[in-house]
Point group: C2
Chain length 116, copies 2
DNA sequence: CGTCATACATAAGTGTCTTATGTATACGCG
DNA sequence: CGCGTATACATAAGACACTTATGTATGACG
């Protein structure tokens, strides 16, 4: 949409990945592509952020991975939400929405008189 | 509101400070208090985050500071938006809202079939 | 006169991002 | 057949902005 891709705020990538995997198993490249496409090219996930993030999620037990070979013969590591991960996804999405709501409260708040 | 204060996402503090100073000059402690109060105690700004952030904003030329002594005799460093800072505030608020909108697009997007 | 709220400051540690670099395969095209 | 592009993964180095911990100091209140 915009001319320049938006810079990711640190700590906000995991929920995007989790939500994406909520639609079904996918490999890293496909996750990245889905986020880019569904954001209308506003979000470009760098590989240097994506793969470490997938590792972290796997270490937390929220996703599981396995190597697969597609019909075309290409190898790819396919990620899938675990049961814990699916619950975490819902919690993380809710946490993000809470964050947004809290910010809206502060940004919209109007003081009576001086705040100092 | 919640039992535990929300953890700040990195990179999201500046816009809160700028918006707060948009209501008028204030010293650090008052900025922190205003953010806490207007967020209904959800956001607690740590001093280790606040003062470095104010320094950054001053180095960018978005805020200016001066030492003042209140009627009670206490010294405090009072911050105020510069003209550039006031424009930056509007841009930063808009950038945050854009970020939220982009995230909503991704989180709400529904694939047709598999994304992989 | 002790404790709490106010007020500022900085160092050390942490985590997650960007940038840069490397490897390797499939596919279309001329 | 050779070449560029898209696909696919991985990691190191660096930057940056938080948290945690610590320190100093004053005013107000009981």
């Amino acid at each position: 949409m915009s001319d320049t891709p938006i810079r990711l705020l640190k700590g906000t990538l995991d929920v995007l990945i989790l939500r994406t995997l909520g639609w079904g198993p996918a490999h890293g490249y496909a996750i990245s592509r889905w986020i880019r496409q569904s954001s209308d090219d506003d979000l470009q996930i760098e590989e240097g952020a994506l793969y470490p993030a997938l590792r972290r999620l796997e270490e937390k037990g929220w996703v599981a991975s396995r190597w697969e070979t597609s019909e075309s013969g290409r190898d790819a590591r396919v990620y899938d939400l675990t049961d814990v991960g699916r619950r975490a996804m819902r919690l993380e999405v809710a946490a993000w929405q809470r964050y947004v709501a809290v910010f809206a409260r502060v940004l919209d708040a109007r003081p009576r008189g001086s705040i100092a």
